[in-house]
């Protein structure tokens, strides 16, 4: 019986420490500023990215990894008889999942690839990948790991606050939140993901109020599952002090399973959400 490997993409926003500790492999997307192309995390760091995002007039874009990129990763890590769980960003937001599916058909049959649509992005995807990797480390059977992964996907609740809807809109990732565009007031919408797509959750005026509201939503989430431990993660494109503060507040409110995973939103997601984003991911174990 071969080994089980976990692969995800750079839309997962997992920190280097978590990736190394849990042995999660990441296939990078590419970020394009004009004619310049960079591999996320390998050829461009997160801080470089936000500096350029602020200074460049032209909107950057992302490009999914090619099936060949996935084939190269799969062949590098797997021996004949091994299994790969390849979890990726919502297929409604990115073609990455599709590339991985194509790649899986291009391998010889000695390696099995299970490609999973996380219906999420950023640390939501990160949590799904972590669930898979922890299952592997705990020595669980493939079927049990896949069922844990599906449970995480089905029960994940996402809230995120963006400074501006401009980036989501220009990159065509705004989904059902398009109704919020064009408002003349400065509104900090709380957004969510519904079936893998961005959807409006609530309209709030002012970021401070929006974050206050997110905290209330965390309490409401816990009240829905009084008996359960809750797993939480957050990702951000803001100061790490602010992120740490929110994480500490979270651990005070919630009976948490494990630490609050904190990820910085990298270029892959940052292209679509812009600066100042704070995202929260919760699920009841």
């Amino acid at each position: 019986m071969g080994k089980i490997h976990v692969v995800t993409d750079s839309g997962s926003d997992l920190s280097l420490e978590v990736k190394e500790r849990l042995g999660i492999h990441v296939v990078p997307l590419t970020v394009q500023f004009g004619s310049e192309i960079f591999k996320d995390g390998e050829e461009m760091s997160t801080s470089e990215f936000y500096t350029r995002l602020k200074n460049e007039i032209e909107m950057p874009s992302t490009c999914q990894p090619s099936p060949a990129d996935f084939v190269a990763m799969y062949e590098k890590i797997a021996q004949p008889g091994d299994t790969i769980i390849s979890v990726h960003m919502s297929s409604k937001m990115s073609g990455t999942y599709q590339s991985a599916v194509l790649a899986s058909t291009m391998l010889d049959s000695s390696v099995t690839v299970k490609v999973v649509d996380s219906k999420a992005a950023s640390m939501g995807l990160g949590l799904v990948a972590v669930t898979a990797a922890q299952g592997v480390q705990a020595g669980k059977e493939l079927d049990e790991i896949l069922s844990d992964v599906q449970h995480t996907i089905d029960h994940l609740q996402v809230y995120f606050v963006v400074d501006t809807l401009e980036f989501l809109k220009k990159n065509g990732r705004i989904g059902m939140a398009s109704a919020l565009v064009g408002t003349m007031l400065s509104i900090k919408p709380i957004l969510t993901l519904v079936d893998g797509e961005v959807a409006p959750f609530e309209k709030i005026r002012g970021k401070a109020k929006a974050l206050k509201r997110v905290r209330e939503l965390v309490v409401e989430f816990q009240e829905k599952f009084p008996e359960k431990k809750i797993r939480a993660a957050m990702s951000h494109a803001t100061t790490s002090e602010e992120a740490t503060q929110i994480a500490e507040a979270l651990s005070r409110i919630l009976p948490l399973e494990g630490e609050v995973l904190i990820g910085e939103i990298g270029p892959t997601i940052g292209v679509h959400t812009g600066p100042g984003v704070i995202a929260l991911f919760l699920f009841a174990m």
Binding site: G182, M184, G206, A208
Partner: protein, 558 residues
């Protein structure tokens, strides 16, 4: 006069409408708060005029037919709280005369006044004494007493008038806010004007009225003295209305230009579409001036002196307000080919900037009005009907419009919910909680709780001297109101806005919004917001052009 026939009844109502129209500025000035939007007189006058226009459609002068038209016309034309209450007065009056065939006796009239009084009380949820309700009741009681003593129709009306006048004089003794402000109740004064008109219409035959109207002269605007009525002569006989379509139209400039050309002037709209209504003797000059500003459309000129003229299209003209939104073609209003939305929204907003903000937040139809001009119930009915949705939420955004908005429920086939917003910021706050896919009931509940998350402040000027609590206020002083109550007084709008916000902002506040009025410069507003941002570093300060008339600033804190 022993009995009253239909012709006399109609005459009474026509004279009452004239009298109220002449005295509406006096009634307007009786506002408890010295803010420039005291328009009780205008609202009552427009309501009665709508009813009278309906009367002119009568194919015969049967009392029953006339009173039915009176009730309907006043209901559809009702503007503002006082207009709605007045429409209920006429509804009750009409019910009280429903059984009369031919001629009404003193007893019938007394019964009608009693029915009118009772209906007005039923119309308000919490009747307050010392208001027009009391005046209506005391008048009815006096009429009843006279009828019981065998008085004829004219004596009953005289008794009612005397009762109303006595009751009006007593309103400051019943309602302390009136005494403090040194005024009698405005709605009560309006009602007294109507009773005065009834009495005059009784003793002045239609022929004599014709003679008086045929003479030209200057009305005594200051005259509260009823005895002058017989000498009054109607000027500004042409009711002139039209819509200007163009670019960069400035309603304020039109107002300033037309002010000297007539009275009863209403200029509403924005830089693209503006509706003008004015009573003038020089409709040509008015049209010429406005024709230079853009394309004129929906032009209607009526000679108000020719009483028997068919005013059919005139009665329909409130619909034009709502045509405005369709003309401009806001999405979702004109495109009726698509499937109807579940829940649509109508908002009453004064000011082009605020109107744009409300539209950008998903409002389907904006009814212009609120501060200077309360929309009529019919205006709201038309707007609700113009929204392509199965049910409609109305945001009145003004305490004086909530009542008319609630009347709409009974007048349309759609399901209507009213979120009782009392200011534009409350309306905006409520809209944050609107979810298109939710039901009308869910939305109304969520929006009602959401509207409370914001505090509203307004900066305007005092239209007369008064005392509010510890504050001595002189006419033309700049005053700041927090949640509708005078909180600060000063001499500059910017300083008053700053002082006002000091009473409103606390440590929990996160957002301060400043909507500057039609007469404010963007630079002034930006300067104000910069100093506010400095003072309240824990808040986000946002500034928007509101374009509202009369109010230098509307501010909100949340």
């Amino acid at each position: 006069m022993d009995v009253i026939n239909g012709v006399t009844l109609k005459n009474m109502l026509l004279v009452a409408a004239r009298n109220l129209d002449q005295q509406k500025d006096i009634v307007n000035a009786l506002n408890v708060f010295p803010v420039p939007d005291g328009d009780t007189g205008t609202n009552m006058s427009l309501t009665l005029n709508a009813a009278v226009k309906e009367l002119e459609r009568a194919e015969n002068n049967e009392v029953g037919r006339l009173t039915t038209l009176l009730a309907r016309g006043s209901l559809m034309g009702a503007r503002g709280n006082s207009g709605v209450i007045l429409s209920q007065f006429f509804r009750g009056f009409s019910d009280g005369l429903a059984h009369v065939k031919g001629e009404a006796t003193g007893e019938d009239i007394a019964h009608a006044f009693d029915s009118a009084s009772k209906t007005t009380y039923r119309a308000v949820m919490k009747p307050v004494e010392g208001t027009m309700l009391t005046v209506a009741r005391v008048a009815a009681e006096a009429a009843e007493e006279a009828a019981e003593e065998g008085a004829d129709a004219s004596a009953v009306i005289k008794a009612a008038l005397l009762g109303a006048q006595k009751s009006l004089a007593d309103t400051p003794n019943i309602l302390p806010v009136l005494k403090e402000a040194g005024v009698v109740d405005a709605g009560g004064q309006g009602l007294v004007c109507i009773f005065e008109g009834f009495w005059a219409g009784l003793t002045t035959s239609p022929e004599e009225m014709e003679e008086i109207l045929a003479e030209q002269g200057t009305p005594e605007k200051e005259a509260v003295d009823f005895s002058r009525l017989g000498e009054e002569v109607l000027v500004n006989k042409y009711c002139t209305e039209f819509i200007i379509l163009g670019e960069g139209i400035d309603p304020e400039r039109i107002r300033a230009e037309l002010e000297s050309k007539g009275d009863s002037m209403i200029v509403v709209g924005d830089e693209h579409v503006t509706k003008v209504h004015i009573h003038t003797d020089h409709p040509g000059q008015v049209l010429q001036f406005c024709g230079d500003l853009g394309n004129l459309t929906e032009i209607a000129i009526d000679n108000m002196m020719l009483q028997n003229q068919e005013f059919a299209h005139h009665s329909d003209n409130h619909r034009l307000d709502y045509a405005i939104d369709n003309v401009v073609g806001f999405p979702g209003v004109a495109e009726h080919s698509a499937a109807p939305k579940g829940v649509g929204i109508v908002a009453v907003v004064a000011g082009a900037g605020l109107a744009d903000i409300f539209r950008s937040l998903g409002v389907d139809s904006v009814v212009t009005g609120g501060q200077t001009m309360n929309p009529s119930t019919e205006d709201l009915v038309t707007a609700v009907n113009s929204v392509h949705a199965e049910s409609v939420i109305i945001l009145p955004n003004n305490k004086n419009v909530i009542f008319s908005a609630q009347q709409v429920k009974e007048l349309v086939d759609k399901k209507v919910g009213v979120v009782p917003t009392r200011s534009a910021p409350q309306g905006i706050s409520a809209l944050m909680y609107f979810v298109e896919d939710d039901s009308l009931e869910e939305n109304v509940a969520a929006m009602e709780s959401g509207m409370g998350e914001v505090k509203t402040g307004e900066v305007t000027y005092a239209v007369r001297s008064t005392v509010a609590g510890d504050l001595q206020i002189e006419e033309r002083d700049i005053i700041g109101l927090a949640e509708g109550k005078i909180a600060v007084v000063g001499s500059s709008p910017d300083d008053v806005a700053r002082d006002l916000l000091r009473t409103m902002v606390d440590d929990e506040s996160t957002v301060i919004s400043v909507y500057y009025g039609a007469d404010q410069m963007a630079e002034e507003a930006e300067d104000l917001s910069a100093t506010l941002q400095e003072e309240y570093s824990h808040c986000e300060v946002e500034v928007y052009p509101g374009g509202q008339p009369l109010y230098y600033y509307i501010v909100s804190v949340e």
